[in-house]
């Protein structure tokens, strides 16, 4: 295991130099999510050496870790105290870092019933594009002093600042977990989820693939059993790696060598099956839908938009990854980027082309 080290000052100096010289930087965690977003031309700024858990107070429900800390290490530390991250971030190959998790802002199957990555971000220390070390937020759940720039970092893919340290809310792990599976098609799964969503069920996952609806129940032993009985279907404690596979994108649907692009559609959960060709995997109770399709990008995006959502091309050659923004919104994004990174050196163009963030 690599030694813990605080490279904050060195990294800040490096950013300041790059800002002065106008040299673009490509921020690297472990590279586990290098496929996500647009390619960045720049000098590498590796964060992996800047690692270590700085503070962990289980009773205060927070943990602070340096950006290069492996997610697996952080999760093991939490698990040893009966805690976990509610946002269940993907661990792509087990290599992901804590900083990469926040920068990518991807949340796992538990997201609709627990938290998103941005929800558990309580504070960050980061380097802006001027090479200044800044601290936003803190260690507390409740904090409205100053703009919430800490949460803004989640999903910004390193285009605003280099994350040095993040403080995350942690939650107790549940007493029991059960998975209930039912045969039904996608339309019926959506109908059932819309009805069940209004009931106080201890849901912690709901996905549909290959003609089966799978529900994960978490909580006190008694309530999980009671809910399983109410939902019907077959209930089992061993999910056969289903939720981990969904979370970490190791399910063949997400990871396999299907040559077709992989799309992620974020839509209102009860949206009926969308009229696009290809294969679907429903996650987040219907609010996150994965699609393998050859349909043109424009059609996928227009369909998602009509449903009130947006579409990300998660894996696919030659397709813009992120949903295009209307001109005024793109202009605002550029101004926000410039506010943090006036020289435009931090992961330029990782999200959008043409001087976009």
């Amino acid at each position: 295991m690599a030694a813990d080290a605080d490279l904050g000052e060195q990294l800040a100096a490096r950013v300041a130099e790059a800002a002065a010289a106008g040299t673009p930087l490509r921020i690297e965690g472990s590279g586990s999510k290098a496929f996500y977003g647009r390619p960045v031309a720049g000098e590498p700024l590796p964060l992996a050496g800047h690692r270590g858990i700085v503070a962990y107070e289980p009773a205060e429900l927070y943990v602070t870790a340096r950006a290069g800390t492996p997610l697996a290490e952080l999760e093991a530390t939490l698990a040893a105290r009966g805690q976990r991250l509610g946002c269940e971030p993907p661990r792509f190959g087990g290599r992901g870092t804590v900083g990469g998790m926040v920068a990518a802002g991807l949340s796992g199957p538990r997201r609709p019933w627990s938290w998103a990555v941005r929800d558990v971000v309580l504070g960050v220390r980061c380097i802006n594009g001027r090479g200044e070390i800044l601290a936003f937020g803190g260690r507390l759940m409740k904090n409205v002093a100053g703009f919430d720039a800490a949460r803004l970092m989640a999903g910004s893919l390193g285009t605003l600042a280099v994350l040095l340290e993040v403080t995350l809310r942690v939650d107790p792990a549940p007493e029991a977990t059960l998975t209930v599976s039912l045969e039904c098609d996608m339309a019926e799964a959506i109908e059932r989820l819309a009805a069940w969503g209004r009931l106080p069920l201890p849901l912690a996952g709901a996905c549909h693939l290959d003609g089966r609806l799978h529900l994960r129940l978490e909580g006190a032993e008694a309530s999980v059993r009671e809910a399983a009985a109410r939902l019907g279907g077959e209930a089992r404690a061993d999910d056969g790696g289903l939720w981990a596979g969904l979370r970490d994108h190791t399910l063949p649907f997400l990871s396999g060598d299907d040559p077709r692009p992989l799309w992620r559609l974020s839509v209102p959960p009860a949206t009926p099956p969308l009229p696009l060709p290809g294969e679907w995997l429903l996650d987040w109770g219907g609010a996150q839908r994965w699609l393998r399709t050859d349909a043109p990008a424009g059609a996928v995006r227009a369909t998602a938009e009509r449903a009130g959502g947006h579409a990300t091309c998660f894996r696919g050659e030659g397709i813009e990854p992120f949903h295009p923004l209307p001109p005024a919104a793109l202009a605002l994004h550029r101004r926000i980027k410039a506010a943090f990174d006036p020289a435009g050196i931090l992961n330029p163009g990782r999200m959008y082309a043409e001087g976009g963030p």
Partner: protein
């Protein structure tokens, strides 16, 4: 750029702006009569009062846009206002600006039970959302004590919390989509119809931005199923420190209560006198701990919490027998501010947040500071998330007492910062906590906040002088602190 002082508006620009507004808006939409303006001179932080140039009461989004376009053209500031229940002066008018009330944009546009969302205009009251959702077995979780009056727009601007936010999150966790107008009247959509939107997470930055970045004109909020069962325990303690330790123990025990509130003896007595909640008035402090979920889960949890409370010196632990008693227990807590308000001509509500384990120590420190300043302090806490609401009792009519109150307030916030906390958990900085912000943040961070604001509003016309202190003000504040003196020219405005 950020070092520039806040805006100045000259008389003729203000006059021209008023004329243009009058031409563009129906007569009932623009109020300038001094008596009417007085209704809007302050929010719930009544120590600060000011008259605006005019109050605009638009009926719809297009009128809001018109107002913003005209004010921008003339360089006139705009202060958004919801219900005016804010406790930090966030809706305090600008003397050369337009106070923009969103109160008439108060329609619930849609309740969508299948997607479990409510789409509302910004002037809709917090409680009205839950009332509209109830027939579907749903509710809107963030429930500030002011929920009968405060608006969703104001909740978003302050990232309001409530007694249930430890488990269900703050406003930021429960708003999916925001439509707002920027200072130049452009529509800005943040978030999306699903659980996220494309691009930067603008919904997160807009939430808690105190009306400085954009004017919220519509929001889609999440609705959650009403819990099957909710039970509340009331525990009495002979020592405040024991109650504080019990709070830490409950959380450390892996329990996430739906609510965990604390009141000290003075608050207990005030609430009891006011609403007869059935509180033990001899207790040094009480805790209210609510658990919700399925029957079985709640029952098991209650047994564990009972044991933890007893272990930490609770002299009495009472389980609300029925729904009526549960509501009564909560009524006492939710009425705590007005109840304390009956004890004294004025009170000043603080809002520091600290790590839970520091609660006992900081409360002791607050008691010392209160004695030093000769002013009584009553404590009400969202203890589960370490959010303190010390209420300083004073009489504004007694010369010097408000100033002494503010000094005490700042000392209390310093104690919170020293304990690793923050100067505001949910009420916002407003005008009130600008100086403590200078203590909490360094110059580079403050400069970054200003730059972010200018990305949204380059001319700084939205709610100027609030939320983020200018660097000049902080420089002065720091210098003053070194000398330990009072402000050199207290009569001057310090934005």
């Amino acid at each position: 750029m950020a070092q520039r002082s806040e805006i100045t508006v000259d008389e003729s620009a203000a006059r021209a702006c008023m004329a243009a507004l009058r031409r563009a808006l129906p007569p009932d939409t623009l109020l300038t009569d001094p008596d009417t303006l007085r209704t809007y001179e302050c929010d719930a932080l009544s120590a600060y009062r000011r008259l605006p140039l005019a109050v605009a009461l638009p009926h719809d989004r297009e009128q809001v846009r018109t107002i913003l376009r005209i004010t921008r053209e003339h360089g006139v500031p705009v202060v958004p206002r919801g219900a005016g229940t804010g406790l930090s002066g966030g809706a305090l008018p600008h003397p050369r600006g337009v106070l923009l009330s969103l109160a008439r944009l108060n329609r619930i546009l849609a309740i969508d039970p299948r997607n479990r969302t409510a789409r509302v205009e910004p002037g809709v009251r917090n409680l009205a959302v839950s009332e509209a959702a109830r027939p579907y077995g749903l509710h809107y979780a963030p429930d500030p004590s002011s929920q009968v009056a405060c608006t969703i727009g104001g909740n978003i601007a302050e990232n309001a919390g409530g007694v249930h936010c430890l488990k269900y999150g703050l406003t930021v966790h429960n708003v999916l989509r925001i439509e707002a107008l920027t200072a130049d009247g452009e529509t800005l959509v943040a978030g999306g119809g699903g659980l996220d939107g494309p691009g930067y997470d603008l919904a997160a930055v807009l939430t808690g931005s105190e009306g400085l970045l954009a004017v919220v004109v519509e929001a889609t909020v999440r609705l959650l199923p009403l819990p099957q069962c909710a039970r509340v325990l009331l525990a009495a303690f002979e020592r405040v420190e024991d109650a504080a330790a019990a709070v830490a123990a409950v959380i450390a025990g892996g329990i996430v209560p739906a609510g965990l509130e604390m009141m000290d003896n003075a608050a207990v007595r005030a609430a009891e006198d006011f609403v007869h909640a059935g509180y033990p008035t001899d207790a040094a402090a009480i805790l209210l701990c609510e658990l919700d979920g399925t029957e079985a889960e709640v029952e098991a949890g209650i047994a564990r919490v009972r044991a933890l409370l007893a272990e930490h010196g609770a002299t009495e632990v009472r389980l609300a027998r029925d729904e009526a008693e549960r509501e009564r227990f909560w009524k006492g807590r939710k009425a705590a501010f007005p109840a304390v308000g009956r004890l004294s001509p004025d009170y000043y509500c603080m809002d520091g947040t600290i790590p839970r384990r520091e609660i006992g120590r900081v409360l002791t420190r607050i008691a010392e500071l209160a004695r030093e300043h000769g002013l009584p302090v009553v404590n009400v806490l969202h203890a589960g998330d370490g959010n303190l609401h010390p209420l300083i009792l004073y009489d504004a009519n007694r010369p010097g007492e408000l100033e002494r109150t503010e000094r005490l307030g700042h000392r209390i916030l310093e104690a919170c910062i020293e304990a690793g906390g923050t100067v505001t958990g949910e009420h916002g900085v407003g005008v009130e906590k600008l100086d403590p912000m200078c203590r909490q943040f360094d110059e580079a961070t403050l400069r970054q906040f200003h730059a972010l604001r200018e990305a949204f509003d380059p001319r700084r016309l939205l709610n100027p002088g609030k939320a983020v202190p200018t660097l000049a003000r902080c420089a002065e504040h720091r210098a003053m602190h070194v000398r330990g003196g009072r402000l050199p020219f207290p009569e001057l405005e310090r934005f």
